[in-house]
């Protein structure tokens, strides 16, 4: 049997049965009103959505996280990665920095005889052999010192040492 021979007459009649399937009586009397009400409700919602768009960026930022948990996961992972990279980079660059910073530059000692060159009364020369002379040694030192855990603190660049007020030995 080819295409043209098949007229599907009874099938077409049977399919007409579908035309007699109807929704409950009165169903369409309120149908369009429901649609119009939903459209109006949707339009009424739109202005209430606009303040959300004007919300502070931080609020919208957090809302984005709520909506997309994967984003916050990715962001947290990349922050952790950045921190680890920063720590590794700092470890590698410290020896160079220490070498550079520990170079001591000799500071010329002020001549006690040259009074005119001393302007501060605190640095006034004491009588020979007695008195306190402020050493012009810098208060800060770049030498490693023991930290709280008893190991040399190679991490910090600057440690504070007490100023020396030892009697000057002429």
């Amino acid at each position: 049997m080819n295409k043209k021979d098949q007229d599907f007459g009874e099938l077409k009649t049977l399919l007409k049965l579908k035309r007699h399937e109807v929704p409950p009586v009165g169903y369409f009397s309120n149908f369009s009103a429901q649609i119009i009400a939903k459209i109006q409700a949707g339009e009424a919602d739109e202005p209430s959505r606009s303040p959300k768009a004007d919300a502070p960026w931080l609020v919208r930022f957090f809302e984005m996280f709520t909506a997309r948990p994967a984003v916050i996961g990715g962001l947290a992972a990349s922050l952790c990665g950045l921190l680890i990279l920063g720590a590794i980079f700092a470890e590698q660059s410290e020896p160079v920095a220490n070498n550079f910073l520990t170079v001591s530059v000799p500071t010329p000692q002020p001549q006690t005889s040259d009074l005119a060159s001393i302007s501060s009364p605190a640095l006034a020369p004491a009588p020979a052999g007695i008195g306190i002379v402020a050493k012009p040694t810098p208060v800060t030192s770049l030498q490693p010192v023991a930290n709280l855990f008893g190991q040399p603190n190679s991490g910090s660049l600057f440690q504070v040492q007490p100023a020396s007020f030892a009697p000057a030995i002429q």
């Binding site: 049977l14 049965l17 579908k18 399937e21 939903k38 459209i39």
Partner: protein
């Protein structure tokens, strides 16, 4: 304020123009004109009254929201049908062939239809089946078809649309419509062999 009854006799093009400008009364009239056909198409696709109600409403709301994009290349009726058909097909794809039947009752005219009465009369071989049983079997057979095949049969054999209109609605050529229709009928004939005399 325009009187709603004044829209009743208006041309479809006028109503569409007004609705595009936000006139909801004009759109209400458009909904009233097409609600039964749109609902019926979706109902026949889903075999479920509640689903058809939801999808038909969504289709009309979507059409209103998209009215600005309606260029007028085809008639509003065809454009609206296209939205409804796409909504129904997407819904059925999401549901993944899990059918929940909620069939509407047959109207009182059914028993007065001589063709249908002939189908269930004792003179024909199949058939001690009542109309309700036949309705159930027919819906089950239709749900076995793929969505595009079912859609073509419903639009042509149930809704009475032409091949050209179906091609426009389903965005395919007429040849595709004809071949889908033939294949779908052949399939249905097989599924309903028990109830149909071989041609």
């Amino acid at each position: 304020m325009t009187d709603a009854s004044s829209f009743a006799g208006r041309l479809e093009g006028d109503l569409v123009s007004l609705a595009r400008q936000g006139d909801l009364e004009a759109y209400d009239e458009l909904v009233k004109r097409y609600q039964e056909r749109i609902y019926a198409t979706i109902y026949h696709m889903t075999a479920n009254h509640e689903d058809a109600n939801d999808i038909a409403q969504e289709a009309f709301i979507k059409a209103y929201q998209a009215l600005k994009s309606f260029k007028g290349g085809s008639s509003f009726y065809t454009w609206l049908y296209r939205i409804a058909v796409n909504k129904a097909i997407n819904f059925l794809k999401q549901r993944k062939n899990k059918h929940h039947y909620s069939l509407n009752d047959l109207d009182f005219n059914t028993e007065n239809n001589p063709d249908l009465i002939a189908l269930i009369s004792d003179k024909t071989p199949f058939r001690n089946a009542g109309l309700t049983e036949l309705q159930k079997k027919l819906n089950e057979a239709l749900m076995k078809l793929s969505e595009p095949h079912r859609m073509v049969v419903i639009l042509h054999d149930v809704q009475g649309l032409s091949h050209e209109e179906i091609a426009d609605i389903m965005d395919c050529n007429i040849g595709t419509v004809r071949s889908r229709l033939f294949y779908a009928r052949q399939q249905l004939q097989g599924f309903l062999a028990e109830y149909i005399k071989s041609s």
